[in-house]
Structure formats: structure tokens, C-alpha cells
Amino acid sequence: MLDRSAVKFKIASVLQVQPELIVEEAILNELVVDSFILVDLVIELQEEFSCRLNQENLKSVRTVGDLIQQLELHRFAAA
């Protein structure tokens, strides 16, 4: 199981925002206005939590909770 609070903590640290702001319902595009930072965030989370996502997996992602769900679904078998 992916540690959801660890992922949220990591998101807060990459985005340099208060961890309290990173709730499941938070809309990613509102947290990150710069799409480059969003790309970097997604890469950072995959490296940290041993997951592999592709564009298709991100299509339905709107919130922090959606992103965590995709990370959960696409973890490496060994992780």
C-alpha cells in the first residue's frame, strides 16, 4: 500500500506549500499554475514512490486524490 500521507507530504515539499493545503480534494491545476512544475512533480513522485505513469494515466487526474490513486495503481511490482 502506498503511504498516502507520505505522498502528500512530498507534494507539499516539491510545491513549497503548507502540508495542510494538500488534501485529497485539492485541484492540482489550482495548486500548480506552471505546467512545467507539474511535470516535474509527477516525475519526482514516480521516482520517490517507484511508480511508472504515462500520459494516458494522467488524463482523468484532476485532484491530489486522483493522482495518488494513479500512483497506487502503477507501482513497480518489486516496490
Partner: protein, 189 residues
Amino acid sequence: MTTKLNENELWLLSFYRTSEISGALFFGRLCKTLKSSAVQHDMSKHFSDEAHHAWLWTDCIAKLKAQPLKLADSYQDQYISAAGLPANIMEILAITHVFEKRVIRQYALHSRVPDLQPEIKETLSAIMQDERWHLEWVKNALQSMENEFGKENIEQALQRFLQADEEVYAKTMKEHEERVHGLGILAGR
């Protein structure tokens, strides 16, 4: 101080400068995030080249006695909104490959404009040397990822980004038609 650039020229050089800065910031950020690897190594050089290109345009504009315009959106921002977010390193390199190709084509087109100021010509030719290497390392890196990501997936990603590239380029050209035609740069594919 009398500038040697007309309004359209200053806009275009500022556009190039903004785009080089965005590229540098994007790759710089990724270099910090990626684990140590051959991709991280080459991307670090790529990052430093793009930062240097931003300086070359800044300096070129200064030599032509003007000041860079502050432009809002970079070309890369539009790319991501048209193509969707690249989600892994292969997709990032695929979008980079398509983008670098566009940059080379645009710079080559610009360098053929008759009676181009020598400062612009020199800047374009200095940058183009690096841009060729950018295309090459990205192409090699993508090839080396075929086992991990699948050749077909790489080709599909390139295709998707190519389509977005054509859309964004056509849109940008249309939006700035007057400026670009005023400079004698014809949209090429």
C-alpha cells in the same frame, strides 16, 4: 540610444529569449529531480546550453541597442496545453525531440532572411550548433529506452507530440502573422 531593431524584430528576438529561458528552467528543474544516469548527464549539458542561448539572445538584443520585451507565455507552455502533460522521462524526451526539431527549423528559416543584421546571424549560427546536438542526444536516449518503454509506445508518443506541434506552430504563426511576414520569415513545416 537608437535601436537597430524594428518592433517586429525586437518581439521575435524576445520571443526566442523567453523560449530559451523556459527550456533552461524546465531542464534545470528536471536535472535536479532525476536520479543519476546518462540521461541526467546529457540533460545537464542541455540545460546549460539553453541557459547560454538565453544569454546570447539577451546580449544580441543589447548589442542592437534595445531591451528584451517581457512576454507572458512561452511557446513551451502552449505545447503542454495542446499535447497534454508528458508523464514519464520517455514522454518528456519525445516532446523535447519534436520541439528541438521545430526550433532548428525556425532558426534555419530566420537565418535565411535577406540582409539580416550580423549580430542576429552570428547568434543564430552559434545556437544552431548546440541545437543539432540536442536533437542527437535526445534521439539516442529515446533509442536506448526501446526495451524499457517499447518501440511502438515511443513512436506513438512522438506522433502525438508532432501533431500538437503542428497545431501550436500554425496557431502561433497565425496569431503573429503580421510580425513574421513583416520580417520575411515564411512559415515552413
